[in-house]
Amino acid sequence: MIHPPDEHGDLLRRALRAEADAVVPSPDGLEIIRARIERRGVRNLFWWRAGAAAASAVLVAGTIVMVVPELRSQVINEGPAQVVDDESTLRVPSNSSTTRSQQPPPPVPTTGPTSGPNPAVVPPETRSPSPGRPVRTADSTSRPTPGRPVASTSCPSAAEQAEARDDCPTLSPTPTSTETDPTLRPSGCPAEECPPDDATVGTPDIATPLLDTGGTTP
């Protein structure tokens, strides 16, 4: 068992040596190696210099920013301000619990004139009209734009709401507006009878939250 591999090994060894002995390397190998070493050293030196230059530039810029009080205040103020904004926007939805899509409305009531956002803010009222809305909207659009001057109740209600809002801006308008707003939407100012001023003023603000709430309820 051992002999055959050794025989083959000897044959292979002789063949390899014969093949390798035929190879004569070039005599200038050492010079080539030294040239490569020098080139490598120059290349390394270049990269060291480049790295040192970049690091020193960054260091100088950092010291300038930190030394000059105006620049430092700008840098310090810019960073946290954005972070606070992001966190506040993120916290509000998380605290509003169930309805995520209605999160945009809550900030609006604080800022806006309480017309559009309020109905979207109050969850129970939006829910109660929401099941009735799709039917009413379908009916209102299809049937009775002419026949439903019943919408006339909505149009004056809108006007009254606007007035009422002007009168009572704080607590009562929020629930009342939510109830009246859905009626306004389906009537959707198809009502030609509606006073243009109030309707035009009320509709654009109301339209977007209605679309939002209608989209969120399903």
Binding site: L11, L12, R13, E19, I33
Partner: protein
């Protein structure tokens, strides 16, 4: 063999190692990469690498082992690159010049070399390091970066693949 005084700097060590081992390493590389020019380049790269790593080389006695391992690794990468090149631009590689008339006939030797070149890379490395470099299994394992068991396995498989050709020679 590969011992170099510790106090030598990198230039002196490279010069001494070159005069002692450059030829043998080029021949080893030729058997691995099948091309003299590429083999010389591989060995030159290994010398440049050991020049850069000379300060980190704690044991100068291992300079030859470092060079040999570097040659094996670089030959492997050359073959890998060559395989990719041949895959997309297939061309016949120039054969290494074989001008030698020894105990073995030219045809038989060339047949063995061709069969050796047809082996997988690891098997060829194991056979060349063992039967040309006369290295032990531990040295082969260190040079190839594998275990002794893997060295045995590659050697046995390579010899089994070459057996038919070698039997014709015997």
């Amino acid at each position: 063999m590969g011992a170099v005084p510790v106090e030598w700097d990198a230039d002196m060590a490279v010069t001494a190692l070159y005069s002692a081992h450059f030829r043998a390493l080029v021949r080893l590389a030729v058997l691995l990469v099948r091309d003299i020019a590429t083999a010389e380049e591989v060995v030159q790269d290994a010398f440049v690498a050991i020049h850069g790593a000379w300060r980190r080389l704690r044991d100068p006695d291992k300079a030859l082992a470092y060079l040999r391992q570097s040659v094996v690794n670089r030959s492997r990468s050359v073959l890998r690159h060559r395989a990719v090149v041949e895959k997309y631009a297939p061309k016949g590689l120039p054969d290494a010049p074989s001008a030698e008339n020894g105990a073995i006939g030219e045809l038989e030797r060339s047949a063995v070399i061709e069969a050796l070149r047809a082996l997988p890379t690891r098997q060829r490395e194991a056979l060349v390091l063992r039967y040309y470099g006369d290295l032990s299994e531990a040295e082969i394992a260190h040079a190839m970066g594998i275990s002794k068991g893997a060295v045995k396995s590659h050697t046995a498989r390579g010899m089994a693949a070459l057996r038919s050709v070698l039997e014709k020679m015997s």
